[in-house]
C-alpha cells in the first residue's frame, strides 16, 4: 500500500497527489513513469512521475480524470492509500546540459513536462516554456513551471488568458520571430504533440515527445503499448516513453489510443459517472 500524503485539486478534472513510494523516489529520473492499480479488481494504468523527493521518499502524480480508473483514483484523499505503485519504469529522458530548450506542455501534459524542465533548468540550460489548456481555469502547474523557466508563455484555446490559441501556434510564432532553439520537448494530448512536431519539422529542430499509450503490465511483457517510430515497432514501456517526435506515427498512435472507447463508456456508466473529457 502506498500512502497519499498530500492531495491538491488543480482543476475540476485534474488532481495532484504526493505518494509515499521510497524505492521509486530513490531511483526516479525525469521522463519515467509508474504503473498504478487503485483497487483489487482494478486496471493497471501508467502515470508519469511529475516530481520526486528522494529525501521524503515521495513521488508526485498528476492526473486528469478521463476514465473510470482515474476517476476512482480521484476519490482517494490524503491519508488513503493506493493499492499498487510500481516503477520507475521507462528509459529516463536524455536531457541536454547546455543550450536553449523549449518545453511545451498541453493540458495534463504540463505535469510530465515539468520534471524535464526542472532538470534542464538545474543543469543550467535556458528553458523557455509554453504551456496551455482549453481554458485558463483548466491550466495546471503555472507557478511551478514559471519557477524553472527563463520565460513562460501561457496559451488558452478560448483566449481566457495569455496567447489565444494552441501551444503549437505560440511555438510557431516564436520561431517566426527569429527565436533559436536547440531542442523542443513536447508533452500533451496526441493531436497537440502532432501539431508541435509539424511546426519544428521544416526547421529540423530536434523534438522529443513523451507517449502515453495503453499499457497492461508496463514492464515489457504484453506489447499493448507498441508504437511505430521511424517505421519500426517500439514498445513504449521499455523503449520509451520519449521518442523523436518527427519519427512517430501519430495517426496510428491516436487510433490505438481509442481501442477501448466503448468499454470505457461501459465502465463509466457502471460507476454512474460521466467521463470528463476536458
Amino acid at each position: 500500500m502506498y500512502k497519499i500524503t498530500t492531495k491538491q485539486v488543480l482543476t475540476p478534472v485534474t488532481k495532484l497527489m504526493t505518494v509515499e513510494a521510497p524505492l521509486v523516489a530513490r531511483k526516479a529520473e525525469p521522463g519515467q513513469f509508474v504503473i498504478v492499480r487503485v483497487s483489487g479488481s482494478g486496471e493497471r494504468i501508467p502515470l508519469t512521475i511529475a516530481d520526486f523527493d528522494r529525501g521524503a521518499g515521495t513521488i508526485t502524480l498528476v492526473f486528469q480524470e478521463v476514465g473510470y480508473t482515474t476517476r476512482l483514483l480521484g476519490t482517494k484523499e490524503e491519508g488513503d492509500s493506493i493499492l499498487d505503485v510500481v516503477g520507475p519504469l521507462g528509459v529516463p529522458a536524455e536531457l541536454m546540459s547546455q543550450g536553449r530548450v523549449v518545453c511545451v506542455g498541453g493540458g495534463v501534459g504540463v505535469a510530465p513536462v515539468y520534471p524535464k524542465a526542472k532538470a534542464l533548468h538545474e543543469a543550467g540550460v535556458e528553458v523557455i516554456s509554453i504551456i496551455g489548456a482549453r481554458s485558463y481555469d483548466l491550466l495546471i502547474m503555472e507557478d511551478m513551471m514559471r519557477a524553472v523557466s527563463r520565460q513562460l508563455y501561457v496559451c488558452t484555446d478560448d483566449g481566457s488568458f495569455g496567447y489565444h490559441g494552441f501551444v503549437s501556434g505560440k511555438l510557431q510564432e516564436l520561431l517566426a520571430s527569429g527565436e533559436q532553439f536547440d531542442e523542443v520537448i513536447a508533452v500533451g494530448p496526441l493531436p497537440m504533440m502532432r501539431a508541435t512536431v509539424e511546426v519544428t519539422r521544416p526547421l529540423g529542430i530536434k523534438t522529443l515527445v513523451s507517449l502515453n499509450p495503453i499499457m497492461v503490465d508496463g514492464t515489457g511483457m504484453c506489447g499493448a503499448c507498441r508504437v511505430t517510430v521511424g517505421g519500426k515497432t517500439k514498445f513504449c514501456c521499455v523503449d520509451g516513453p520519449m521518442f523523436d517526435g518527427h519519427q512517430v506515427d501519430f495517426a496510428e498512435a491516436i487510433r490505438r489510443s481509442q481501442m477501448y472507447l466503448e468499454e470505457e463508456k461501459t465502465a463509466l456508466h457502471r460507476c454512474g459517472c460521466q467521463g470528463g473529457d476536458a
Partner: protein, 464 residues
C-alpha cells in the same frame, strides 16, 4: 492383467458446457479412480520415470502410497522434490517426460503419472497443508527475482534448507506465467495461490511491485546484504511477424490477450475493470500451448469462431496433444500449413481479415521438423476481427541493460553454465529468461538446479 491396458479416464466438463465458462476443464480423479490408476503401475525396480522428471519426483513411491490409501503420504513424498505439485500435475507435459519413458507405455498406455500427482496434491490441499518442520537457519541470504515457476522452486528449495530468501516480483501478485498466462480453466488461480502460500509458509518473503533493474538493481541487492541472486525473470517482449497490419486495432500478442483475460480477469468485465476486445471471429497464429490457451479463451470470451493458423501441419505442433484435443472438441478450427502474410484493416484501423499463404512441407530444418515452404500464388483471406499472435517471446531486456557484468546471447537469453551460474559472480538464472519460451517444469528444474548450486556457494562462503 487386463486393467493395465488402458488408463482411467479423466472426468471433464462436457465441451458444450465448458466452452461457455472459465471453470476448470479437467475435474480430477476421486479416491477410487486414483487407486484404480495407481494400481496400473508395475513398480519398476529401476524406474525410468524418475529420470524423465526434471525435478526427480519419487514417482513409484508416491504411486504406491496412493495404492495403499495414504494420500497425504503420497503428497508429502512428491513435495520432497517438488514444491508445486498441484500445478505440475495440471500443466507439465508428462507425455514428453515421465510418462514418455514409462515401461507400461511400450505395450499399453503409460501410467497417468501427472493425474495421480494432481490427485495427491489436491487431496493434501483439501485436507489442509501442514508446512514441514524447517531446519535451523543457515547463514546466507538469497534474493530471487521473479515469483514464477523458476523463482518459486528456487526459493522453496533454499528455504527448506534453512536459508533466508526474499522473492522480488514485478507484478502486483505472485505466480508469473501461472497467473498471467495459463488460463483459469486449465490451472485455477486458487490452486496457484495455495501453492504460492505453501512456499511462503516455508519462510520465504515476498516483495511485489519491485522491478529488478528499475526499482532496485542487482548490484543494489548485494549492497543490501544479499549473498546470492537468482534471476527468474521469465518471458519478455512478445514476438511479432513483422508483416503489414500488425499494429491495427484488434491485433494482440498472446501475452497481452492472456494477461488481460487471466491476471486482470477481463472475462469478468465490467465487474473487473480491465477489458479485452474478444471479437466475433478470432484467429490465433501459432501452434504451441500458449496458442491453444489463447484460442480457447477466445471461445469462452464469446467469439463465434476461433481458428488456429499454423504454418506447419498438425504433427509438428508443439502444443500438448491433450490441449489440442480439448480445443478441437470445443469447436476450435485449425488451418494447418497456412502462414499469415498481412493483416487487413478498415478505414478506421480495425482488423477485418488476415491474408494467409498456403505452405507445404519441405526438407527437415535445424529443429528436425520439416520446413514449411510457401506455395506461390496460394494467398487467401480469412475474415476475422481479432488476431492474436502466439509466436513466443524474447527475454525481458531490463535486467541485462542495468546489470554490469551480465552477459546475454544476441537473442536476449542470459548466458549460464550447466548449474545456472551467469557471467556475474553470485548471480544465477533459469527459466524463460535463459531458454526463451519453454515450459513450467523446465523452469522449475532450472530453479532447482540453481538452488543446489547456490547452497554449495553459500556453504563455501560461510565455512571460510
Amino acid at each position: 492383467m487386463a486393467e493395465r491396458q488402458g488408463r482411467v479416464k479423466m472426468p471433464a466438463q462436457p465441451a458444450s458446457e465448458r466452452v461457455r465458462n472459465f471453470n476448470e476443464v479437467n475435474l480430477g480423479f476421486d479416491a477410487e479412480l486414483a487407486r484404480q490408476e495407481a494400481l496400473r503401475c508395475i513398480q519398476c525396480k529401476k524406474p525410468l520415470c524418475i529420470q524423465g522428471c526434471p525435478v526427480r519426483v519419487k514417482i513409484p513411491e508416491f504411486i504406491q502410497l496412493i495404492v495403499d490409501g495414504d494420500f497425504m503420504g503420497a503428497a508429502r513424498t512428491i513435495k520432497e522434490t517438488n514444491n508445486l505439485p498441484a500445478i505440475c500435475g495440471r500443466v507439465c507435459p508428462q507425455e514428453e517426460q515421465c510418462e514418455k519413458v514409462c515401461i507400461l507405455g511400450k505395450r499399453f498406455e503409460p501410467v497417468a503419472i501427472g493425474r495421480l500427482e494432481r490427485f495427491a496434491a489436491d487431496w493434501e490441499l483439501r485436507q489442509g497443508v501442514e508446512p514441514p518442520r524447517l531446519p535451523e537457519r543457515r547463514p546466507g541470504k538469497v534474493a530471487v527475482v521473479g515469483a514464477g515457476p523458476a523463482g518459486l522452486t528456487c526459493a522453496g528449495d533454499l528455504a527448506l534448507r534453512g536459508y533466508e530468501v526474499t522473492i522480488f516480483e514485478a507484478l502486483h501478485a505472485p505466480g508469473g506465467v501461472l497467473i498471467y498466462g495459463i488460463p483459469e480453466f486449465r490451472l485455477p488461480k486458487a490452486i496457484v495461490k495455495a501453492e504460492v502460500d505453501y512456499v511462503l509458509s516455508l519462510g520465504v518473503k515476498l516483495e511485489t511491485n519491485v522491478i529488478i533493474g528499475r526499482t532496485l538493481t542487482v548490484d543494489d541487492l548485494f549492497l543490501e546484504g544479499y549473498d546470492a541472486v537468482f534471476l527468474g525473470t521469465g518471458a519478455g517482449l512478445p514476438k511479432f511477424m513483422n508483416i503489414p497490419g500488425e499494429n491495427l486495432n484488434g491485433v494482440y500478442s498472446a501475452n497481452e490477450w492472456l494477461t488481460r483475460t487471466n491476471l486482470m480477469k477481463a472475462y469478468q468485465f465490467p465487474e473487473w475493470d480491465t477489458p479485452v476486445r474478444a471479437g466475433q471471429r478470432v484467429a490465433v497464429v501459432g501452434g504451441g500451448n500458449v496458442a491453444m490457451d489463447a484460442v480457447r479463451c477466445a471461445l469462452r470470451l464469446g467469439a463465434e469462431e476461433a481458428t488456429i493458423v499454423y504454418r506447419r501441419s498438425r504433427q509438428e505442433m508443439p502444443a500438448r496433444a491433450e490441449e489440442v484435443d480439448h480445443a478441437e472438441h470445443e469447436g476450435v478450427q485449425f488451418k494447418f500449413l497456412c502462414n499469415p502474410t498481412r493483416i487487413l484493416g478498415n478505414d478506421r484501423g480495425w482488423v477485418t481479415g488476415i491474408e494467409c499463404i498456403r505452405m507445404e512441407l519441405g526438407e527437415p530444418d535445424a529443429s528436425g521438423r520439416r520446413r514449411p515452404v510457401e506455395v506461390q500464388g496460394s494467398e487467401f483471406v480469412l475474415d476475422v476481427d481479432t488476431v492474436v499472435m502466439a509466436l513466443g517471446t524474447n527475454p525481458n531486456p531490463i535486467v541485462v541493460q542495468t546489470t554490469p557484468g551480465l552477459t546475454a546471447h544476441r537473442w536476449g537469453g542470459l548466458v549460464v553454465d550447466e548449474a545456472g551460474l551467469t557471467s556475474k559472480e553470485a548471480v544465477w538464472a533459469g527459466g524463460d529468461a535463459v531458454t526463451g519460451s519453454a515450459t513450467v517444469i523446465l523452469a522449475m528444474g532450472a530453479g532447482k538446479t540453481a538452488a543446489e548450486a547456490i547452497m554449495k556457494y553459500l556453504e563455501g562462503k560461510y565455512q571460510a
